[in-house]
Symmetry: C2
Subunit: 323 residues, 2 copies
C-alpha cells in the first residue's frame, strides 16, 4: 500500500486548523553565501517543533475511533515522539513512546510533558521495532510507525502542497528542494506532492556522514543499510535504512542526495540563528548546510531548504554558536 497525490490533499484537509502553515523565509545574507536564491521552509515552527506533527495528526485522524480509543504507540528518537504525543492528546487517547535512552533531554522531557508514557531502549543494541510491536500487542495499542506508514507519509507531504502554493505566489517554478532525510517519510511525501503540483521542482534528500543510506540507495538502485547507529550529532535523522514504502517513492521522484558533515550542520545552525532568527537542531539543519556549503552540486537558480525541526538542548545549541 503506497500513497498518491489524493492521499496528501486528504491529509491536508484532516490536519487543517491543527498543523500550522509554515511561512517561506529568505535572507539576502543566505543568498550571498549560497550564490543563488535561497527559500527556507521552517518546520521548526510547526506544532511540537518539527514537521512530525503533520504525519502524526494525519495518521491519528485517519484511524477509526474505535481503533484509536485504546491508544497509540510509537518508536522515535524524539520528534515523531512529540508529534504522536501531541496528536494523542488532541484526541484524548493514551500514548506510549519507545525512545532511545540517549535521545536529547529536551525531547524526552517534552514527550513526557505532552502526556505520553516514555519507554527507553539502547540505540546501539536494542530493536525498537520489536519493542514497539510487543507493547502494542500487550496493550491493544495501534502502532504509528515513524515513516513507513502511508498516512504518515501523506501528512508529511502537506509540506509539499504548501511549498507549491508559496512558490507559485513568488513565480518560482523550477528549484532544487533539499530535504533532511532519515527514513524518507518527509522526503517521499514532498516528492509525491511536488511531482503532481510543481513538476519543475527536484526533491533531493540530505543526510549526515555515515548515515547516507538513502543517498546510496538512490545511486545503487537497491536498498542500502547503514553500518552504525550512533556517531552523528544529527540524532533526528539516524535510521538503519530507507523504508519499504518510502524508497520506491524516492526512486520514482527524487534527484541525487547530499551527504553533509557534523561541522557543516553546526555552521548551518549558526547561519539560521544569525540570518533567520530560527533555532534549528543538527538534523534539521542538514539541508541548509548542503545549500550553503555544497552549492556546486546544485544547478537551479533557486534552492528551497526544509528546516525540519528545532528540538535541541541549550548546551548543544551553544556549540553551534561557538564555531
Amino acid at each position: 500500500m503506497s500513497i498518491d497525490f489524493a492521499d496528501i490533499t486528504a491529509a491536508r484537509d484532516r490536519i487543517a486548523g491543527h498543523a500550522r502553515v509554515t511561512p517561506l523565509l529568505s535572507s539576502p545574507f543566505l543568498d550571498d553565501l549560497a550564490g543563488r536564491r535561497v527559500l527556507v521552509k521552517p518546520e521548526c515552527l510547526q506544532v511540537t517543533g518539527s514537521f512530525k506533527y503533520r504525519g502524526a495528526r494525519s495518521a491519528l485522524s485517519a484511524m477509526d475511533p474505535i481503533t484509536r480509543s485504546p491508544g497509540v504507540i510509537a518508536y522515535s528518537s524524539g520528534n515523531h515522539a512529540q508529534g504522536v504525543a501531541q496528536a494523542a492528546r488532541d484526541f484524548g487517547v493514551p500514548s506510549v513512546i519507545v525512545m532511545p535512552s540517549d535521545a536529547p533531554e529536551l525531547k524526552l522531557a517534552n514527550t513526557r510533558a505532552l502526556g505520553a508514557e516514555v519507554v527507553t531502549y539502547d540505540r546501539a543494541t536494542g530493536d525498537r521495532d520489536a519493542i514497539g510491536a510487543q507493547i502494542a500487542l500487550e496493550r491493544g495499542l495501534t502502532l504509528v510507525k515513524p515513516f513507513d506508514e502511508p498516512m504518515v507519509i501523506a501528512g508529511q507531504g502537506t509540506v509539499g502542497l504548501e511549498l507549491a502554493d508559496q512558490c507559485a505566489d513568488l513565480g518560482v517554478a523550477n528549484a532544487d528542494v533539499l530535504v533532511p532525510c532519515g527514513g524518507g517519510g518527509l522526503t517521499s511525501g514532498i516528492a509525491v506532492a511536488l511531482s503532481s503540483k510543481a513538476p519543475g521542482m527536484i526533491v533531493r534528500p540530505v543526510e549526515p556522514e555515515g548515515f547516507d543510506d538513502v543517498t546510496r540507495s538512490l545511486a545503487s538502485g537497491r536498498m542500502e543499510r547503514n553500518t552504525a547507529m550512533t556517531g552523528s550529532i544529527c540524532d533526528a535523522i539516524i535510521t538503519p535504512s530507507p523504508g519499504a514504502l518510502t524508497l520506491p517513492l524516492m526512486q520514482a521522484h527524487c534527484g541525487p542526495g547530499f551527504v553533509v558533515s557534523d561541522t557543516e550542520a553546526l555552521a548551518a545552525m549558526r547561519a539560521a540563528f544569525l540570518r533567520l532568527k530560527l533555532v534549528v537542531e543538527p538534523g534539521g539543519a542538514v539541508a541548509l548546510a548542503a545549500a550553503l556549503f555544497q552549492s556546486r552540486s546544485i544547478q537551479a537558480d533557486t534552492v528551497i531548504v526544509i528546516l525540519s525541526g528545532g528540538n535541541v538542548d541549550p548546551v548543544h545549541f551553544t556549540k553551534s554558536l561557538a564555531e
Copy 2:
C-alpha cells in the same frame, strides 16, 4: 501631524509584497507558564530581523522620488538602522546611519553589509538627533526618524492590522496585547490599528527597568524622561523619552505599562528558544517576559505578545541559555 487608521491601511498597501506577514504562534508550554492562552507575533522573522523594516519601507515608499533619490539618513541603535538600510537598498538610494558606538556587533555589521554608511557616536554623551540633522543638512539627505515620524508609525501599525485579522480567524476578540516599547512607534501604531479594527484588545507597552519613561508618562499624564541612557541589556528599546507624536496616541489608546528586569528578559529569551524555536534579542523579549512572569497584572483570558526583534550576538544569546 499625527496618524489615523487610514494611514495604516495605506502603509500596508505600500509595503505589501516586501514586508512579511508574520505568523501567529503558540505553545502549550507557554500557556501553562502564563496561566492563560498566549499568542505570539514573531517580528524577529521580519525582513532584517525586526519590525523596523515595516516603518522604514513605509516611510521611504511614501517619499516623493525626487526627495528620496539623494538618499536617507537615520539614527538608530541597530534595528531601525537595518530597516532603513534595507529599504534604501530596495529603492537604490544611499543611506547613512548614525549608531551608538556600543551597539551590538551584529547590528553594526549587518547595517554595513546592507550597504549603509555607518557613523558612530557615544550613547552616554552624544546627541544623535543633532548629529543626524547636521549630516542630513550637509548632504541633502532626508532624515527618517526612528519613531516620531508619521509614516514610520503607520508602517509599524501594520502589525496591528495583521493581528486583528489573525485573531478574528481564531475567534479571539478580547486580549491584552503586550508590546516591547522604546520610543513608542510600534506601540502607538498597533494601538491605533486595533482601536479601530479590534476594539476589545488593550495594547500595553513593556519596558526595561530604569527605562520606563512610557509607563511613567502614561501613569502621570505628562512626558517623563529617563535619567540614564545605558545600563540595560535591552539595547533596542532604550530611548530618552516618548515621542511628541507617539505619546498622545498611547495616552488615547493604551492600557498601563509593564516594567521587566534584565533577568526576566533573559528567561523569556530562553523560553522562546525552547518553546517557539525563535531567536529573540533582549529588548524584543520583554513583552513575553511580562506575559510569563507578571501574569497577575493581566486580566484577559488571552495575552498577545509581540516579539519585536531577534538581532542578538551569539555571545549574548548564549547567556540566556546558561540561565
